[in-house]
């Protein structure tokens, strides 16, 4: 079995579950007690009416039985109530820890240029996986453990009265609770795998084609696309139906086996209990007590077959979660250096090759940026600009050479340790939280005055005034919307709050219209006056306001100078600028 289905929990999962072991045990014990109550209620009732049917029986003689009927009757719903509360509470506790673990794993890998693809769809999958993990416990693991435990308990219980009855319960329980569910699982595993493959292939293709629906229409091939998806949809649903059929067949088999088991149980009970009138009362008790067990055990095949659905989730989480990971960079106290010093950035003889890449991305790069300089890095995509940025941020280490920050007293620190760089990523992400929370991420202990001051400095004073609840207004997707320009301003406000001596921007503002782009570049240059500013860009907008222009091509610096100098001396640069601004005929 282990060859087809890996049932072993990864160590991070065991670590997550361990602190809450007591709650899990309590939930399982309560679950067993609940089901035992259901069975005992029928058992005692059967005994009660058999006993009372004896002519000699008086009410006094069955007082205990009547009391037990009430105890088991009331006991079941009450135990069940607490079982559900405790098991859910347990699962949510595990979930909270899992969310934190998953987040910090993703976060610690986020800075690398070859980081995990953080597409929305993938992240949604990860988040769904947490739900799958909850169901794995609540719907698969707990019911299976409880069902099997109940089975063992009933065999022992039956053994007290008649070993034949115990044997009968054991034999049919073995078939119904173990043999059939496991064979159903084994049969359905390859089917599920195939169904899943068909499904995900069709879903991916469908998403692709829906995004390209306009192209299908312009190509006059819409009918072709519709037909192919109609056929694929049939396969998807049919594959699932086949799996459900297996579960139904298993369910039918379990019930028929248990029906036969009931007959065997009655025969066994009759053989051993028909000796005297008193013990004959237990024949009906056994028969009636068996019905609730039929109900419980017939749920096992479907619970167990669900396992494969959830095990994929564990596998996916397993890929993302870093087990026993090194402390993430952000937890290193040295990273939060203050800005009271200025730094020059020096790259000397830097080579960089991505792991598993055949060729270098950067070739013996030498570069110095002086404190307070405003530098624009230009170059086509793939030239190595983003790799350069990751090196300066200290996210990656050069394959050879060094990236260092040189203090004004001449001390050198490695970029990986110093982290005096504030980085503003290309997309200005606004979290679906309050404006305050969005800003405080950059400086958790900032006062309101500081937050407001930062907003004023980036030109968001008007926006702030217009917000219904000021800093406490929800912004982002479900809250007050920010336009593209405003979102970038918010990102700048965060950078101001971080207050690092070096500010690095990767292709900022390119999604905005040119007017807004120029406006924001002006504001950026003013807001970060006195700090070292490195802007990776592929536009020439406001290029004249930078102190230096660096052009990168194929992993090397091919041009490096002041913009006015380059305008004067470099024909190629002049041509690009005149193309960029060439609105009017130059003839």
């Amino acid at each position: 079995m282990s060859t087809m289905v890996n049932m072993k929990a990864p160590s991070w999962l065991r670590g997550l579950v361990a602190p809450f072991r007591k709650n899990a045990t309590a939930a399982i014990l309560l679950g067993i007690a609940t089901l035992a109550c259901a069975s005992l209620l029928m058992f005692v009732s059967g005994y009660l009416i058999s006993k009372t049917a004896l002519p000699s029986t008086t009410l006094f003689k069955v007082m205990v039985a009547i009391a037990l009927v009430q105890v088991f009757g009331i006991g079941r719903p009450i135990l069940r109530y607490f079982e559900r509360l405790i098991s859910h509470d347990w699962v949510f506790r595990v979930t909270s820890s899992l969310r934190r673990m998953l987040f910090s794993s993703v976060e610690s890998q986020a800075g690398k240029p070859d980081a995990l693809r953080s597409t929305g769809k993938y992240l949604e999958l990860l988040s769904d996986d947490i739900g799958h993990l909850q169901n794995l416990y609540l719907r698969v693991a707990f019911p299976t453990i409880i069902g099997i435990a109940l089975f063992v308990v009933s065999v022992v219980f039956a053994g007290f009265f008649s070993w034949q009855a115990a044997l009968a319960v054991f034999a049919c329980g073995l078939i119904a609770a173990v043999l059939i569910p496991v064979s159903a699982l084994l049969v359905s595993v390859p089917m599920r795998r195939k169904a899943k493959e068909i499904r995900s292939r069709e879903y991916a293709r469908l998403a692709d084609d829906i995004l390209g629906a306009a192209d299908w229409s312009f190509a006059r091939r819409s009918g072709e696309a519709a037909q192919s998806h109609i056929a694929a949809g049939r396969n998807v649903l049919d594959a699932d139906a086949a799996i459900r059929r297996i579960a139904r067949v298993a369910d039918l088999a379990v019930r028929i086996v248990l029906g036969c088991g009931l007959i065997v149980l009655i025969v066994a009970a009759a053989h051993s209990l028909q000796g005297d009138a008193e013990s004959a009362n237990y024949i009906a008790a056994f028969a009636l007590g068996f019905f609730p067990i039929i109900e419980t055990l017939s749920l096992l095949p479907s619970a167990l077959s669900d396992f494969t659905n959830h095990s994929d989730s564990i596998a996916r989480l397993d890929e993302v979660i870093l087990d026993e990971r090194q402390p993430s960079s952000s937890s290193d106290p040295n990273r939060r250096t203050s800005s009271d010093r200025n730094y020059a950035i020096e790259l000397s003889g830097v080579d960089y090759a991505y792991p598993n890449a055949s060729a270098n991305t950067l070739f013996s790069l030498n570069l110095s940026v002086y404190p307070g300089q405003k530098v624009a890095i230009l170059g086509p995509s793939g030239a190595g600009k983003s790799t350069l940025a990751a090196l300066v941020r200290g996210e990656i280490e050069p394959t050879s050479g060094a990236v260092s920050l040189v203090g004004d007293d001449g001390t050198r620190t490695d970029a990986r340790v110093a982290s005096s760089v504030c980085y503003i990523p290309q997309s200005a992400f606004i979290f679906d939280q309050t404006l305050r929370e969005n800003l405080a991420m950059a400086k958790p202990d900032a006062s309101d005055e500081e937050l407001v001051a930062a907003l004023f400095k980036v030109g968001l004073a008007g926006k702030l005034a217009a917000l219904p609840d000021g800093l406490d207004t929800r912004v982002g997707e479900t809250g007050v919307g920010f336009s593209g320009g405003e979102a970038h301003r918010l990102a700048l406000a965060r950078a101001l709050l971080m207050d690092k001596p070096v500010v690095l921007l990767d292709e900022p503002f390119t999604a905005l219209d040119p007017e807004m782009e120029r406006l924001l570049l002006d504001e950026l240059i003013e807001a970060f006056d006195g700090k070292t500013l490195i802007v990776i860009t592929h536009h020439l907008a406001r290029i004249e306001r930078f102190d230096r222009v660096i052009l990168m091509q194929d992993g090397s610096v091919t041009l490096n100078g002041e913009p006015s100098e380059l305008m004067r001396d470099n024909a190629w640069f002049r041509r690009l600028v005149s193309f960029d601004r060439g609105v009017f005929p130059d003839d």
């Binding site: 009450i78 986020a110 929305g120 949809g233 990273r335 991420m441 950059a442 905005l512 219209d513 004249e544």
Partner: protein, 574 residues
């Protein structure tokens, strides 16, 4: 619980009838099974030999087995029906999505369409499987069992009958409260889950801000807060199902005790008592299952409504637009647009009073600040959006941009062309799937894809797009260009094709695009002003109106809106 949309599905009424019939058969088998077992057990209690009870035990086993076989057949048939129904709806969604009218799926939203055709269809199939058997089981199973209880022993019947309204009352009163609460909780859970996804999406920002630890704790804390409230909600929601359970076990215990009292005074036989005792759990069990699976029904109901809406939108749109197809656009063709207007969802007009004339193979630039209405005009020209007023005529014949006839003459090149997850070759010949390898190679070469092809491991046969090799924005734009080179059409519609490219790539692409435009009618929406000098005519849009139009050189020469727009675009190299 009752959903008109569900009942309205084809064949649904027959399914309901069949389900009631199947429930009736099952209830009859359960009654027979329990009577046989009660007979056997009471004889065994009287210490009659087991052999004499063989016929009754056999009868029990047969009824027991047949009952579950019937139930199996019912589920199997219903499953097939649910798959058939879901597929029929999915087919409609597919036809709507991939209709010749490209605008439709554009308008419905790609995400909404995709989720309707995937999870939505599963939800509907589940809904069809879950809801009808419950309703029919109540009528066809619970009621006959109750009747048989009365027949066997009216006191037990009466106890169950009393429990029924109490159960229903609790289901209504507590259930309603619990549902509102759990719906609220469900929404809250969704919110947290979205919040978590949102935080993961912004992880690059979190990392850049060095806020990982802080945000990770916040994630944990909000998850823990949710746990507390969820468990509190559950403690109420679960209470209602605990009360239902309690009523059921009180019912069974009550039946057992009343039977015991009457057995003592000898007013009832053991056989009768056993039958009554075994039938009452069946009754309560069937009532219990009626109130479960609430979320499956809720999701199914919503999914069904969403899918029906899409399916209907597709059905509506097949009617109109039966205009005469215009002749292919040529040197002598003309297009007159008069007073075109458009608004999104009853909001303020996004575009109004748009009029212009185009003749032959000219190049028409569409410029204006962001949000002025450029994209809306492009969407109308591409046939994605239906104007709410105005008239269009091509070659002096009334026409519409949403017709197949117009679109078959047109190529549309957006800012981010969609690359299909297919080979580069199939992507290039997407509009002309029968073109030869040589034609594709030539187009790829002309579009400047030579370097890309040699870089890719399997050249033209490399799979690109989502899940394959990713191409840069510039390369995607070259693929779009190669596509239109393979399949020549007389009208080209560009929507901001170069704004996101690096300047060198833009310069190179511009040359290639210009040579493509020879002998074509071109509409070119852009805010990169350097394109203006290559346009014959320009429409300047601001605030949803055409504020200026004419030859760009003339307009730039005098004090015009266009000139002011151009001047703001950096220092003009005059």
């Amino acid at each position: 619980m009752f959903d008109k949309a569900l009942l309205g599905l084809p064949g649904m009424r027959k399914v309901y009838l069949a389900l009631v019939a199947s429930s009736l058969v099952q209830s009859a088998l359960v009654i027979a099974q329990m009577l046989a077992l009660a007979g056997a057990l009471s004889s065994l209690w009287a210490r009659e030999p087991i052999e004499s009870q063989a016929p009754l035990l056999a009868a029990f086993l047969v009824c027991f087995a047949v009952r579950y076989v019937v139930s199996y057949i019912q589920d199997e048939a219903l499953d097939r029906f649910s798959v058939k129904t879901a597929l029929a709806l999915r087919d409609k969604v597919m036809h709507t999505t991939f209709s010749e009218r490209a605008g439709l799926s554009h308008r419905m939203g790609t995400a909404a369409t995709a989720s309707a055709a995937t999870e939505g269809i599963d939800d509907i199939a589940r809904y069809v499987r879950v809801l009808p058997p419950k309703l029919c089981g109540l009528i066809g199973f619970s009621i006959p069992i109750l009747a048989s209880l009365f027949f066997v022993d009216w006191v037990s019947g009466a106890i169950c009958l009393v429990a029924l309204p109490v159960t229903v009352l609790f289901m209504v009163v507590l259930g309603k409260q619990a549902r509102t609460r759990s719906e609220k909780q469900y929404a809250e859970n969704q919110r947290l889950s979205n919040h978590f996804i949102d935080t993961l999406r912004g992880v690059e920002t979190v990392h850049a801000l060095d806020a990982g630890k802080h945000v990770g704790e916040a994630v944990y804390e909000s998850s823990e807060r949710l746990r507390t409230t969820t468990v509190r909600t559950l403690s109420v929601a679960t209470l209602s199902s605990a009360v239902l359970d309690l009523i059921a076990v009180f019912g069974i215990a009550g039946v057992a005790m009343m039977l015991a009292f009457r057995l003592i005074d000898g007013s009832i036989a053991l056989e009768t008592a056993l039958a009554a005792l075994m039938l009452s759990p069946e009754f309560f069990g069937s009532i219990r299952s009626f109130s479960s699976d609430f979320h499956a029904s809720l999701d199914g109901k919503n999914a069904l409504a969403a899918v029906l809406e899409i399916a209907e939108a597709g059905a509506e749109s097949t009617g109109p637009n039966r205009l005469e197809p215009p002749a292919p656009w040529s040197e002598r063709s003309s297009l007159y647009v008069r007073d075109l207007a458009f608004s999104y969802d009853d909001a303020k007009a996004a575009l109004q009073g748009v009029s212009f004339d185009v003749r032959g193979f000219s190049r028409v630039g569409i410029v204006g600040p962001s949000g002025a209405g450029k994209s809306t005009l492009v969407n109308i020209l591409a046939g994605f959006a239906t104007p709410c007023a105005g008239s269009i005529s091509i070659n002096d014949t009334p026409a519409s941009f949403e017709t197949e006839a117009w679109k078959s003459q047109l190529h549309y090149i957006p800012q981010f062309p969609h690359l299909f997850n297919a080979t580069l070759m199939d992507n290039i010949r997407f509009y002309a799937p029968h073109s030869s390898r040589e034609e594709v190679e030539r187009a790829a070469d002309l579009a400047g894809l030579g370097k890309t092809v040699s870089r890719l491991p399997e050249g033209l046969d490399t799979v690109i797009g989502e899940g394959g090799r990713t191409l840069s924005g510039g390369e995607a734009q070259r693929v779009a260009l190669a596509r239109i080179l393979v399949d020549e059409r007389p009208v080209l519609l560009f929507d901001e094709p170069t704004a996101h490219l690096d300047i060198e790539t833009e310069l190179e692409m511009k040359r290639k695009m210009l040579s493509c435009m020879e002998g074509k009618l071109v509409f070119f929406a852009t805010h990169r002003m350097h394109w203006l000098r290559d346009m014959d005519y320009v429409l300047v849009i601001d605030g949803g109106l055409i504020v200026e139009s004419g030859n760009p050189r003339d307009l730039l020469a005098r004090d015009s809106v266009l000139r002011r727009l151009a001047l703001s675009d950096g220092e003009v190299a005059a």
